[in-house]
């Protein structure tokens, strides 16, 4: 067994009296697609925010490819190969779809203290960005301003921007939420194609998508990992059924 791509050791985060993540330990191997499921408010987003560096954990350790990254600011973690999408999309509303991706391509290629050349006459970056847009099925909307984009397309764009940073670890916070049936079918197909090339942590409420995609699943309830295992293990776990799957009704 190779060393894990992402390892969490006893990661804790408290908001006042509320323990949002409680002693979370996980090891995710390279190429794995690891799903994290759990009811609303379980601490899934909080956990991703700690891995991405937006929140600092109160205790524990976060290792990316064997190196402690828990003290690095978010942008340095991006430099180490980490990317994420947001549950509530975070995009540049005044820019076009293509410019959102192009910017990520350019940042990935080096620092942006470039003051004179026109950022938009960069055919190479545009070509790469267009490729990412094609991958997520957004190429037709390349010149649309993000502010004018439909919800589903924003979700796709989130993924294109994350991919444009060429991550080795991708954190996905509910990429299917709010998508139409067809759109989420498309998203599942897309993630399946990425599988193996990029290590992924998938937070998702859509159980069909989770069971279709995940190599392993962790169940988070009240900030604690209640179970980790294959789809079948998790489906069969009685505690999980009562705590989560039962509630959900499917």
């Amino acid at each position: 067994m190779t060393s894990p791509m992402l390892e969490l050791r006893g990661v804790c985060k408290r908001f006042g009296g509320l323990t949002a993540t409680d002693d979370v330990s996980l090891a995710i191997s390279p190429g794995e697609l690891h799903a994290i499921i759990g009811p609303n408010g379980a601490g899934k987003t909080t956990l991703l925010n700690q891995v991405a560096g937006e929140l600092r954990h109160d205790a524990g350790a976060i290792l990316l490819d064997g190196h402690e990254i828990g003290t690095l600011p978010p942008w340095e973690r991006v430099g180490r190969g980490l990317a994420r999408t947001f549950q509530i999309t975070q995009l540049l509303p005044d820019e076009t779809v293509l410019d959102n991706v192009t910017l990520a391509v350019q940042v990935q290629r080096g620092h942006s203290f470039r003051f004179f050349a026109d950022a938009r006459s960069d055919p190479d970056a545009h070509a790469q960005a267009t490729q990412f847009l094609q991958d997520v099925g957004l190429a037709a909307s390349a010149s649309v301003r993000v502010a004018d984009l439909a919800h589903g397309e924003r979700k796709q764009l989130e993924l294109a921007v994350a991919l444009a940073t060429r991550p080795s670890l991708l954190l996905l916070d509910e990429p299917m939420a709010g998508l139409s049936f067809v759109e989420s079918q498309h998203m599942v197909a897309l993630l399946r194609r990425l599988k193996g090339r990029v290590t992924m942590v998938l937070v998702e409420h859509d159980m069909d998508a989770v069971f279709a995609l995940a190599d392993r699943i962790s169940v988070l309830v009240y900030g604690r990992v209640m179970a980790t295992g294959s789809s079948d293990d998790v489906r069969a776990n009685p505690a999980v059924r009562t705590a989560y799957l039962g509630e959900d009704g499917d």
């Binding site: 947001f86 940042v107 003051f115 026109d118 950022a119």
Partner: protein, 339 residues
């Protein structure tokens, strides 16, 4: 990339600068260059002086626009750099006139080019110090800290009796440059026009560069920018320093024009005035601050001729313009010309 998407992109560019605009721009600069000749022909020499001040304030407002309009950094202390620039020129002049040296080390000068360069460098250095501390905060604390720094500088210069204290510093004559009679009003106007156009072109380069894309990205969504690997602080600080340098350049030009510099140049009301120019003209647009500076000075002059309470009426007019135009004067012009 298909030619189809390229076409679509061209039409969708936010910083588009098509040929027609370049032509309009060149014509506008040519007209501005002819202002002094026109003023002389019409026996209205004061117009040249007024236009000189507009150009100088335009530089200051453009510099503020870089951080306020494009970068989304709401600073309430930009006049600090305007005043610092003015004092650099004034202090260098005084030492040159007295044949003494600043801190007994740096000799004075009445060379305009040297004084402007010194003003730009010291303005940038001041902005680096103020920016490196204040940019650690955001929102209201940032407004308050930039304001506090500007007020600190204000009171520092009020207490500096060597350089005139409260009363400010008078210069007997304007600075000189080799080969040009910079003391002549018309030449000085043309120098200011050149520098204003230069600063406009610099701003244009900056906002369409990758640096500009990052800066405007940080205004739109900081979390997004961090998530693609941008360290916000450094980029904001560099923009803040460039803006400080621009304001200092304008301040030095103004001090030289008026042959006078006083702490009032860095008073918070001056920061507010610069801010109003940017917002009135159109924050985050290339030409907005220039329109804003011209409109503000014209309004101030016109209203002051009619009433003592001109500031009250100015406030009402500004409110009306900002609330009805959505995007200031430059948005109004864009709509009027059907863009």
């Amino acid at each position: 990339m298909t030619s189809d998407t390229l076409e679509a992109r061209r039409s969708g560019r936010t910083y588009a600068f098509p040929m027609s605009r370049i032509v309009i721009f060149v014509i506008a600069v040519a007209i501005l260059a002819l202002v002094p000749a026109g003023a002389t022909a019409l026996h209205m020499p004061s117009v040249t002086g007024f236009a000189t001040q507009v150009l100088i304030y335009a530089i200051a407002a453009m510099s503020l626009n870089l951080i306020l309009g494009y970068g989304g950094m709401v600073t309430f202390g930009h006049a600090a750099f305007f005043g610092v620039g003015g004092y650099v020129l004034g202090i260098l002049y005084q030492h040159s006139a007295q044949r003494s040296a600043f801190l007994a080390l740096v000799p004075g000068t009445d060379n305009l080019a040297v004084a402007l360069l010194a003003a730009v460098l010291i303005g940038a250095a001041t902005a680096a110090v103020i920016g490196s501390l204040s940019l650690r905060t955001r929102g209201v604390p940032f407004i308050m800290i930039t304001l506090a720094f500007a007020q600190m500088l204000f009171f520092l210069f009020v207490s500096l009796k060597t350089y005139g204290g409260d009363d400010g510093l008078m210069m007997r004559r304007r600075d000189v440059v080799p080969f040009v009679d910079a003391r002549d009003d018309i030449s000085y106007y043309l120098i200011c026009l050149t520098l204003a156009v230069g600063w406009l072109v610099l701003t244009w380069c900056l906002v369409r560069s990758r640096f500009g894309a990052v800066l405007s990205g940080l205004r739109q969504n900081e979390r997004r920018m961090m998530a693609i690997g941008i360290a916000p602080y450094r980029y904001r600080l560099v923009a803040f320093v460039i803006a400080g340098a621009g304001a200092a350049l304008a301040g030095a030009l103004m001090a030289n024009y008026l042959r006078f510099v006083s702490p009032d140049m860095m008073h918070w009301t001056k920061s507010g005035e610069l801010m109003m120019m940017v917002i009135l003209g159109g924050a985050g647009t290339l030409f907005g601050p220039i329109l804003g500076a011209a409109a503000m000075l014209a309004l101030e002059t016109a209203l002051a001729a009619y009433t003592e309470n001109w500031q009250f009426y100015l406030g009402i007019i500004l409110l009306a313009v900002v609330m009805t135009t959505r995007g200031g004067l430059s948005a109004l012009l864009d709509r009027a010309s059907g863009r």
